[in-house]
């Protein structure tokens, strides 16, 4: 076989050079990283109060614009401080922070909601904030219930690790046009709710009274429906050692609620997470939806303001309204921060009345700052106003979910969501499901009490 010995053609040389150049350019362009310093054991420092700080938003994307506005306002007022915003999707936030706690790279400031506070605090990643608040204009201005909710979620050492920014609340959205057409009254009681769910359903026309959450996040919604109907006002019994989730009244309530599946809901609801649930309510002919204030703007965009209302959960026995708590959102200071003074200035600014008002108007949630809660926009956003009233006028009892239990997220998600689907499909009884859930919760509580002791 004859092999040509002529030298490489110009084309080949060009290709080789391009490949080499490409690799070099790519790596050059992508270099200039940092050491990601800042892990859980790092004590950090107060710093100079100037320079750069990094802020991780725990619900990045949709809120990016409003945070960038607040950051621009802050940088204008504090020209010596540069805030680098990093928006992280809510679903990935916990794993990203957990990785940074182990490996380094924690930011200075981060969004810390009650649902993930216990885990971060237990790993020693957060700085306690009581002393800083006591010396700041925020003292006495923050909603006491929200502060207590975050304090309780913080790991049992009675310290506050996150300054509250907002509270979410369960809302029953209903289609006013469909209710009017069917001659139904507002579903302000659970009896009316079940009546409407049945009457608005016409499977042949693909019309349904309700959409149930059968996929991710189903447990919190089922608990809301259970406690709302049963009127039980505490998650733990009087001994504080046993949960009330499998109380016979709750079992009965869950049986009634789960029976709606396929009778008054689409069959596809079995896998509904909030995205699918909200999407099908916004684009279909479904009478009612249970979600929180966060999706209000999506409904306005899809349906317009005239076709639906968002009201607090229905009232139960004796006209009492009982709801389970939604996680309070807040901002925390990471212990490893090398510039805590500047980081605290940012937290103080972001939770001040003007910023807190701006943020919550955009997010459609209840402000944590007392002065922000008096702003005019709240009266104009009906579901937010009704939720704020319900949370503050004494008409509603909130059952505090045990966010402080380190196992809460596992128990209320991975361990029991598949079982709830079995309940919907009739493969498991409501009692069996709740007994199993209660056993896991009681065990987790006993472990927690032991650790605290």
């Amino acid at each position: 076989m004859k092999i040509s010995m002529r030298r490489s053609s110009t084309g080949r040389r060009r290709t080789s050079a391009a490949v080499a150049l490409g690799a070099v350019l790519a790596l050059t362009a992508t270099a200039c990283g940092d050491d990601g310093s800042g892990a859980a054991g790092d004590e950090g420092a107060e710093g100079s109060g100037k320079g750069k700080i990094i802020f991780w938003d725990n619900n990045g994307g949709v809120r990016t614009d409003i945070w960038k506005q607040i950051i621009a306002d802050f940088e204008k007022a504090n020209p010596d401080i540069d805030v680098q915003y990093v928006g992280i999707a809510a679903t990935e936030y916990q794993s990203k922070v957990d990785t940074a706690i182990q490996g380094g790279g924690l930011p200075d400031v981060g969004g810390i909601s009650a649902s993930m506070l216990a885990g971060f605090a237990a790993q020693g990643a957060l700085d306690p904030l009581d002393d800083r608040i006591a010396e700041s204009p925020l003292d006495g201005k923050l909603n006491k219930d929200m502060v207590e909710s975050l304090r309780a979620a913080g790991g049992g050492d009675d310290q506050l690790y996150s300054v509250p920014t907002s509270a979410n609340n369960g809302v029953l959205y209903y289609r006013t046009d469909l209710f009017e057409k069917a001659g139904l009254e507002e579903p302000s009681t659970w009896d009316r709710f079940f009546e409407a769910a049945e009457k608005l359903t016409d499977e042949d026309k693909n019309e349904f009274g309700y959409t149930i959450r059968g996929g991710a996040g189903s447990i919190a919604q089922a608990l809301d429906a259970m406690y709302g109907q049963s009127g039980i006002t505490s998650f733990w019994d009087s001994t504080g050692k046993k949960t009330t989730v499998n109380d016979p009244k709750n079992v009965e309530a869950l049986e009634k609620y789960a029976a709606l599946f396929k009778k008054a809901t689409p069959a596809a609801d079995l896998n509904n997470d909030f995205t699918k649930m909200v999407a099908q309510w916004d684009s279909g002919q479904i009478g009612m939806l249970n979600h929180n204030l966060g999706s209000y703007q999506d409904h306005v965009k899809a349906l317009g303001e005239d076709k639906f209302r968002g009201i607090p959960q229905p009232t139960g026995p004796g006209g009492k309204r009982v709801q389970v708590s939604n996680p309070v959102d807040g901002i925390g200071l990471f212990k490893s921060s090398k510039n805590k003074e500047a980081a605290w200035k940012f937290i103080e600014f972001a939770t001040s009345a003007p910023s807190n008002s701006k943020f919550n108007e955009s997010a459609g949630q209840v402000p944590a700052h007392a002065d922000a809660a008096k702003d005019d926009w709240i009266a104009e956003a009906e579901p937010t106003k009704l939720a704020a009233d319900a949370l503050s006028d004494g008409s509603t009892t909130i059952v505090q979910l045990p966010y402080y239990l380190p196992d809460w997220n596992t128990i209320s998600k991975a361990d029991n969501e598949p079982n709830f689907q079995k309940v919907l499909l009739g493969d498991m009884s409501a009692k069996e499901f709740l007994d199993n859930l209660a056993e896991q919760l009681n065990e987790a509580k006993a472990e927690w009490d032991e650790q605290m002791a």
């Binding site: 076989m1 010995m5 790596l27 270099a31 990283g33 994307g61 949709v62 999407a279 916004d282 999706s295």
Partner: protein, 298 residues
């Protein structure tokens, strides 16, 4: 340590005269089958695969709040929103950079490693092959913390370089195994002939072997590009700066904890899918040849 060169592959068989076509009853029966028996199952399959794509297009092109089943009136407002407001232009650029750099690095290293595995015998070769295979069973998530610490030591956190290196490392085992099989399929005698004509090993490889590896290189390169384009975990964990994030991370931020802009999400999904579709459209011929050739040990 290299001990000896691998046993020569058998020389290519001499070409023989083609046999006359034999009547094949089964073949004929298949050829004569009514067309609907072919097109109906294909059509049903296409309906199942294309409806989700149509749904994404519908959400991306119709105005927010519309319940129409056709994207009319058509709007590009969702594309504008994600491209400018949500920085998808930047994410797209970063993803291209990561994808192309991973492709180049994976192909180059897999070529060198694959050649060594195909042409040399060395003491730990079997153990090395086993280790390569075993590395495929370890999920990336398990290695996040150690990888994070390594990149932190190298001052590479928040650099696209960390993602490129991690993606390359995770792509290499499979790519190396595939390339080594491609090289084994190239008769060793071709290289020997080149040596006889005065080439050194490198030049013989470049002039004789490399051109025959084109389907394999395209298969491995495209696989590396598409995988790194779609991969989410490393970019999420190693990049903390909004300006350095990639398309999958950007897509994820379009879904908040309790609200989702479906129009923007669908538009972002289309932007993310277009390069992959284009890559596959251009290379599908070589990709199938490449994977089938690499699957057979020479």
């Amino acid at each position: 340590m290299i001990t000896k060169e691998a046993t020569q592959a058998a020389p290519a068989p001499a070409p023989t005269a083609p046999e006359p076509p034999r009547p094949n009853k089964r073949r004929r029966a298949w050829d004569e089958a009514p067309r609907w028996q072919i097109y109906l199952p294909l059509g049903i399959y296409l309906v199942f695969t294309l409806i989700p794509f149509y749904w994404i297009l519908l959400f991306a092109l119709r105005p927010a709040g519309s319940t129409s089943l056709v994207p009319w009136p058509m709007t590009f407002v969702h594309f504008e929103k994600v491209w400018t407001d949500r920085s998808f232009g930047t994410f797209f650029y970063n993803s291209v950079l990561v994808g192309v750099a991973t492709l180049i690095m994976t192909t180059l290293v897999a070529l060198a490693g694959g050649y060594a595995l195909a042409r040399f015998d060395f003491r730990i070769k079997r153990g090395f092959m086993l280790a390569l295979l075993c590395s495929q069973f370890v999920p990336g998530a398990l290695l996040l913390v150690p990888l994070f610490e390594i990149f932190a030591e190298l001052q590479m956190i928040n650099s696209l370089g960390s993602v490129i290196i991690a993606e390359t490392v995770f792509q290499l085992p499979l790519s190396m195994i595939l390339i080594s099989n491609f090289i084994k399929n190239v008769p060793y005698s071709l290289e020997e002939a080149a040596w006889v004509d005065g080439c050194n090993r490198m030049r013989a490889f470049r002039v004789v072997v490399l051109p025959l590896l084109r389907p394999g290189l395209i298969a491995v390169g495209s696989f590396a590009f598409v995988h790194s384009w779609n991969h989410f975990l490393f970019a999420l964990m190693f990049l903390n700066n909004q300006e350095k994030q990639t398309i999958p991370v950007g897509l994820n931020t379009l879904m908040s904890a309790d609200s989702v802009d479906l129009g923007a999400l669908a538009a972002g999904g289309i932007i993310a899918a277009v390069p992959v579709v284009i890559v596959f459209a251009f290379i599908q011929k070589w990709l199938i040849t490449g994977f089938s050739a690499g699957a057979v040990k020479g």
